[in-house]
Structures are given as structure tokens and as C-alpha cells.
């Protein structure tokens, strides 16, 4: 064949690799299944859990989740990639999300993206060599009136100017959300001793009600 085609017959997961998900994570995923009528419905909480534990959901993690929920790995691949929230490969410490929607586009969003690519030496979905930043784009960040916008982790940077980029990147607090918070927001959990041992796996607000 004279053209290039991606060969999907090649496996990306080593069938003999030792399991990636810890016993604790597995048990947790299985415990989610009781909440729903079907096992497959536990897929989203499972993805959150794995991403929060491992930082991303790798191919092997997808296969293992599929096996736990009696679905096909392709089902996991399908659902996972629908949400840009989930990562299939490791991400940097901070994730920069540049808006690629209409208002930002007409007010220079693309230039911001290009400048960041050049500055960090990465393409979209890449991670800088020092592991500091990953770069992605997203549809409207809901800050159209201050376009162009970008997010660093959860902090929204509005009216981004090209010559301001250096300053923003250098600022260690560039992902700190200075929102007035209730003093309860960061308060320690009420009865600390009663927290389960796997507390680190529990920090996803979306997963656990």
C-alpha cells in the first residue's frame, strides 16, 4: 500500500505485565458497582479514581478497568477520550489550557498558544522537559468577555498578553485560585482518625459523595 495507515493490530499493552492497579483501587472500583444498576455505569467514577491515583489513565489501566467492569477496553477508550479531563499519558505539574473558541480565537488566542508552544518547546498535549507544564486547548472557558483566556490548573488568566506570558509562567502561584473561600473550605476533615487508610485515593470530590 502506498499510503500510510496507522496499524491498529499492534498491541500497546503487554499481556504479561504485572497488574498496574493496586488491590485497594480494584476493590474501590468494585465497590462503586453496587451503586448502579449495571456494572458499566461505574466507569466514570473508576476513571476519576485511577486518574487521581496514578495521575493519568494509561492503556494498561484501561484494560484493567474494562476487565473489572465486564466491558471492552474500547468502551473505556471511548468514554475516557470524550472528556478532556482525563489524561492517557502522564501530565506535568501544572496544566495550561488555552481557549480555542470563538471570542478568544478572534482576539489572539492562537498567538498565545503558539507563544506557549515555542516557550515550552512542546506541542499540544505535550509536557515540558522539566515536567512543569503540560499544554492543551479547550473549547470556551466561559471568560469570553475577557478574551483571550487560558487556565493554569484551575486558575483563569484573562486578557492574556503576549509580553505578559513570561511573568505569568514565572509566578509560582500562577495556579492559585484567589477566590474568597469559606473558612470551611480548607478545614481539616472533621474526624481525621476515622478516615479510611486509602485517603489519598479519596480526594476526588466528583467520585465520592
Amino acid at each position: 500500500m502506498s499510503w500510510k495507515a496507522i496499524d491498529r493490530n499492534q498491541a500497546v499493552v503487554d499481556a504479561d505485565a504485572p497488574p498496574l492497579l493496586s488491590e485497594g483501587v480494584r476493590e474501590k472500583i468494585l465497590s462503586y458497582t453496587h451503586r448502579y444498576e449495571t456494572k458499566r455505569a461505574a466507569l466514570l467514577p473508576a476513571l476519576h479514581l485511577v486518574q487521581n491515583t496514578l495521575g493519568h489513565v494509561s492503556w494498561q489501566a484501561m484494560v484493567e478497568i474494562a476487565a473489572l467492569l465486564d466491558i471492552q477496553p474500547s468502551d473505556v477508550f471511548d468514554t475516557l477520550t470524550f472528556y478532556t479531563h482525563f489524561w492517557t499519558h502522564p501530565k506535568g505539574e501544572k496544566v495550561i489550557t488555552v481557549c480555542r473558541s470563538l471570542s478568544c480565537e478572534v482576539l489572539g488566542g492562537a498567538a498565545v498558544l503558539d507563544a506557549l508552544k515555542a516557550r515550552l518547546g512542546i506541542e499540544e498535549h505535550g509536557t515540558s522537559s522539566d515536567g512543569q507544564y503540560s499544554l492543551v486547548t479547550e473549547e470556551c472557558l466561559a471568560g469570553c468577555d475577557h478574551a483571550p483566556c487560558m487556565l493554569i490548573n484551575e486558575k483563569l488568566h484573562k486578557n492574556v498578553k503576549l509580553d505578559d506570558l513570561e511573568r505569568i509562567l514565572a509566578d509560582g502561584d500562577n495556579d492559585r485560585v484567589d477566590m474568597p473561600r469559606s473558612d470551611l473550605f480548607d478545614a481539616p476533615p472533621v474526624a481525621e482518625s476515622k478516615q479510611p487508610a486509602s485517603a489519598t485515593e479519596d480526594d476526588s470530590r466528583t467520585t465520592d459523595d
Partner: protein
């Protein structure tokens, strides 16, 4: 039954069926991609939008609702009024078509689907002539997604028919839809390719040239192909198929809708199983053997030669020393002609049926997902009996009476030398003459063998008659459920050969041209119950 009004015309249809299906079946050519009658409704392509009358929220009077509704997702209710012929609907269709073509490479000249592509047809009928897109197109990759199938992602309209097929009918779920919005792509999980016994159907239901069959890739432009209605001989299920051929060569097989047997589907084994018909090793000439001497008589002489040789034999030994072994690959009509001839020259002749090939277990689809507690509703079955007409031959043997033997009993008696003259029909796509059967070759004074390929029996036979492949013949097969279905002749036999039906017709003493229909009429007097055949109702071409 419900009465609905489409474009001012009244229509009677089954309550609850999608309005789109009712309209398509009644002859409306409504554009649609994601809807397929055999799959669940996705209502994602928005091509089938229509206007519908609803009670006005204030006055309660029935009036056209301001919003459009997908016809594929709107069930028929009595009194429903919809229309497709309004400007609003036409504009919606045009806009949808423009959207589908935004990133499409427009590579019809090199696309296999060209000529049977819904993008082409709909652009022509419902689209606009030019694109207003000024930005560079998104270029998506081509993917090799399995042993038989290629995926040209850039031609995809993301209707998800293929995905739903692997989930709902095959039950294997290899395909998925990854990413979102403008990055949507069909894909498989890397290393888990599309590889199930039914996968070829995704190519059939893909409305565009995105999913392509490697076997047919770049072989022939589809408008040069002629389709002939046929029945798949691959197993006893007997799926309705269409044989696509050109220049007397078969290029591909496609399933044909048959609500009693295969719905819209067929399996890969049947789909790709026609290759043996193109094998150069096939026997194509009749042959006569006298001692070491081999001659090839003309077809004109064959009926007399065969008849005289059998008559001589009966005179020399006796009529109960004659046997005919029918093949489960014969059409019922051909088998009837042979029985008629044999019982005419030797009224006491024994009849038997050759071995029935069985491979593995029946496979039901959708296959149960791993860990599923119970089997889902069976939508398709591939049977372990790999021949098309065991039932037909059995029924014929039953009504023919006289001595009827199993193949084992025949072999045993033949090995003891009980028969002096035999006519054995093969016609199996795979080698079928086992060691014990091979030894029988020398046990008859007169052996006529009718087969596709040479084997120990043809080597021993006094008369060898070429058998033809089913695409070269016509007649009917009775499937495992007892349904008799006619199949038509798609191509002519290879040069030198003659269709089995024709020479059997002449040998049995009839004049003129053989046709399945004609023989069924002849059969009707004697065996009326065997002559009723079921033909699946055709569906309009636009209701794909």
C-alpha cells in the same frame, strides 16, 4: 395500524415504528445516515429532520411546531402529521450536508464506495453545489483496524452505525468513537482489532467510503457490477445474498435483507467463501475413461452415453445394484432430475446422500459479553453444518421412496461390492473424499462422478462430469429451518463446463433449457410440497 399524514398524503403503518422507516418503506427518499432498521436509534446525524404538528400551547390547536424533529426517533402514532417538503426542512438538510462535507477530502475518484455512497447521492439530491469552507480541512488518518477492514477516518460522517453493529449484533464491541466534537473519530483499542466472524457487515452498513473491505479494495468500480439474488451455501442457515459480478467474474458477496433468515447480515465465512469457485484446478470438461484411454466427449453426446452405459449395466447385472449418491450442495431441482433418471433406468436403484460437512459448534450472535449472566437475544446464527441443502435432499429422498441409505450404509455395502453401478455427486468446496471413500472407487463396474475438483473418486470414474459452483447454477436450497429459497445464476460456468442442471435435465430426458422454475413446475405433480419457495421481499434502494 395507525394512520399518519406525510407531506399531505395519508399513510397506514404500524403504530410505534419510526416515522422515518414508515416513510422510507412507503417510497419517500428521506436522507439518513445514522438510522439503520437493524440497530438501535442514535438520532445523531440530524439528516432526517422533519416538521411535525403539535397542539399550540395556548390555543391547543394543532399547528406546525417551530422546532424540527428527527424522523428516526419519532414513533408513529395515530393521527400524526409531519412534512419533509417544506423550505425549513430543505434548508436543514442542506446545512447538514454542508457540515458533513466540511472536512471530507472529496476523493471520490479513488474511493471504493463511489457509486454507492450516500454522501454522493445526498449531496446531489439534498446538498449544495459548493462549500463555503475557507479554512484548511482537518485531515484525519487512515487506520488498519483489522485483518479484513480499513478505516479512512477522513471520510467518516460519525453516524456510529458501525459501532452499534459491533456492540448490538456481533456483541464483540471492538469499535468505539473516541474524542469529541471536531476531533471525533472511529477507532479500535490498539491491539484489539476488528476481528469477529461478522465484521464484514460494518463495511455494508457504512453509508460512506470510510470502512472498506480489503478483499474488494480497488478491484472494480461498483457501477460496473451486476447484482444477482442468491443464497449463501456456506452453512445451513441459508442467508439471502447478492452476488456482485462483472465480466463473468464474482467480485464480492453482499447480504440481502431477509426477515425470515438473516435480516440485514451475513457472516465473513460466507462473504469471503466464494474463492474456490475461481480456482484454476476445477474440472471443466466431461471425461470418458475406457481402461487407460481418456477422451473428452462433447456435451451433445453426454446424455446418450450416460444413458446407454447405465442401461447396459442394468441389463448385465440388475436394477437393485445401482446407486445414486446425492450431495447436500446440489439444488433440490438438480437432485430431483438425477433421481428421476436413475429410477427410470433402474427402478430399484438405491439412493443415498453424501457426507454432511460439520465444523465446530453453532455460533450465535451477539456473543455474550464476558461475565454476562445470560445470553442476549440471538440475532444471527452461523451453523456448524457447512452445506446449504441437507434438508432439501432429505425431503426429496423421503418422497422418492424405495431404498434410501445413509452414507455409512452405502459405504459399507459398496465396500462389499453390493453395487455395480454408481453415480456419485460431490461439489464440495473442500476435499471431501476420505480414505475409506477413496477405496470405493474400484468397487463399481460403472462409476459416474460429478465433482468440482479431482480426487480419488474422479480418478477411478468411468465418466467424470464437471460440477459447477452455485454462482453458476440456479435452483433452490432448503435451509436448516426447512425454508426453501431460490437462488439465481450469476455467471456462466468456466469455458468447457455446463451447468449441472442443464446436463441433468437432458440426461433425464427433457428438452430445452433448464431453469429452477421450470423444474419446480415439473416437480409439482409428484412432489408439490417441495416446490414452494420463499423469496424475501425487496426493499427500496433508498432505504439502506
Amino acid at each position: 395500524m395507525a394512520k399518519i399524514i406525510i407531506d399531505n398524503q395519508e399513510l397506514e403503518c404500524r403504530e410505534g415504528m419510526p416515522v422515518l422507516r414508515a416513510a422510507l418503506e412507503a417510497g419517500w427518499d428521506i436522507p439518513h445516515y445514522c438510522y439503520h432498521p437493524g440497530l438501535s436509534v442514535a438520532a445523531s446525524c440530524r439528516l432526517c429532520l422533519m416538521e411535525m404538528k403539535m397542539p399550540h400551547p395556548k390555543t391547543r390547536e394543532m399547528d406546525w411546531a417551530p422546532k424540527l424533529f428527527p424522523a428516526c426517533q419519532t414513533p408513529v402514532r395515530d393521527g400524526l402529521e409531519v412534512r419533509f417538503n417544506s423550505d425549513v426542512v430543505k434548508t436543514a438538510q442542506e446545512s447538514c450536508m454542508e457540515f458533513f462535507l466540511l472536512n471530507h477530502p472529496l476523493d471520490c475518484p479513488v474511493c471504493d464506495q463511489a457509486g454507492e455512497c450516500c454522501l454522493q447521492d445526498y449531496s446531489y439530491k439534498f446538498g449544495r453545489a459548493e462549500s463555503r469552507m475557507v479554512d484548511p480541512k482537518v485531515v484525519n488518518p487512515k487506520k488498519d483496524i483489522g485483518p479484513h477492514t480499513l478505516l479512512y477516518t477522513d471520510r467518516c460522517v460519525t453516524c456510529t452505525r458501525c459501532v452499534r453493529f459491533t456492540r448490538e449484533i456481533a456483541g464483540t464491541g471492538e469499535l468505539c468513537l473516541v474524542q469529541r466534537g471536531s476531533k471525533n473519530e472511529i477507532d479500535v483499542f490498539p491491539g484489539r482489532p476488528l476481528d469477529n466472524p461478522m465484521q464484514g457487515n460494518v463495511v455494508d452498513i457504512c453509508p460512506v467510503g470510510c470502512l472498506l473491505d480489503k478483499d474488494f479494495l480497488f478491484k472494480r468500480r461498483v457501477w460496473e457490477l451486476t447484482g444477482t439474488s442468491s443464497i449463501c451455501p456456506g452453512c445451513a442457515t441459508g442467508c439471502s445474498i447478492r452476488v456482485d459480478h462483472a465480466d463473468n467474474r464474482v467480485y464480492r458477496l453482499k447480504p440481502r435483507y431477509n426477515p425470515k433468515v438473516n435480516d440485514w447480515w451475513m457472516c465473513d465465512e460466507g462473504r469471503f467463501g466464494f474463492k474456490y469457485t475461481q480456482d484454476n484446478a476445477r474440472i471443466i470438461k466431461p471425461m470418458l475413461r475406457r481402461g487407460r484411454e481418456e477422451t473428452s466427449p462433447s456435451w451433445r453426446e453426454i446424455p446418450d452415453i450416460v444413458r446407454f452405459r447405465f442401461q447396459d449395466h442394468v441389463r448385465a447385472s440388475s436394477a437393485d445394484k445401482v446407486v445414486a449418491v446425492l450431495s447436500p450442495f446440489m439444488a433440490t431441482e438438480e437432485a430431483w432430475l438425477l433421481i428421476r433418471f436413475i429410477r427410470e433406468v433402474a427402478p430399484e436403484a438405491a439412493l443415498a446422500m453424501g457426507p454432511v460437512p460439520v465444523e465446530g459448534e453453532p455460533q450465535a450472535f451477539p456473543c455474550a459479553p464476558p461475565g454476562a449472566p445470560s445470553m442476549p437475544d440471538v440475532k444471527f446464527t452461523i451453523l456448524e453444518e457447512k452445506c446449504p441443502n441437507r434438508r432439501g435432499i432429505e425431503q426429496l429422498l423421503e418422497v422418492s421412496g424405495g431404498t434410501v441409505l445413509t452414507f455409512e450404509a452405502f459405504s459399507e455395502q459398496a465396500a462389499k461390492g453390493d453395487f455395480t453401478a454408481a453415480w456419485i455427486v460431490g461439489g464440495y468446496p473442500k476435499p471431501w473424499v476420505e480414505k475409506d471413500t477413496a477405496k470405493l472407487g474400484s468397487k463399481f463396474g460403472l462409476l459416474v462422478v460429478q465433482d468440482l475438483f479431482e480426487n480419488k473418486l474422479t480418478e477411478a470414474a468411468a465418466i467424470v462430469l464437471p460440477a459447477c459452483a452455485w454462482v453458476e447454477r440456479d435452483g433452490s436450497f432448503v435451509n436448516a429451518k426447512g425454508l426453501a429459497q431460490p437462488f439465481e445464476r450469476a455467471i456462466s460456468p468456466p469455458d468447457g463446463a455446463m451447468r449441472d442442471g442443464q446436463y441433468l435435465f437432458e440426461i433425464a430426458g427433457f428438452e430445452g433449457l433448464y431453469s429452477g422454475q421450470r423444474v419446480r413446475e415439473l416437480m409439482a405433480e409428484a412432489t408439490a410440497s417441495l416446490t414452494e419457495v420463499y423469496e424475501a421481499p425487496p426493499i427500496p434502494a433508498h432505504a439502506h
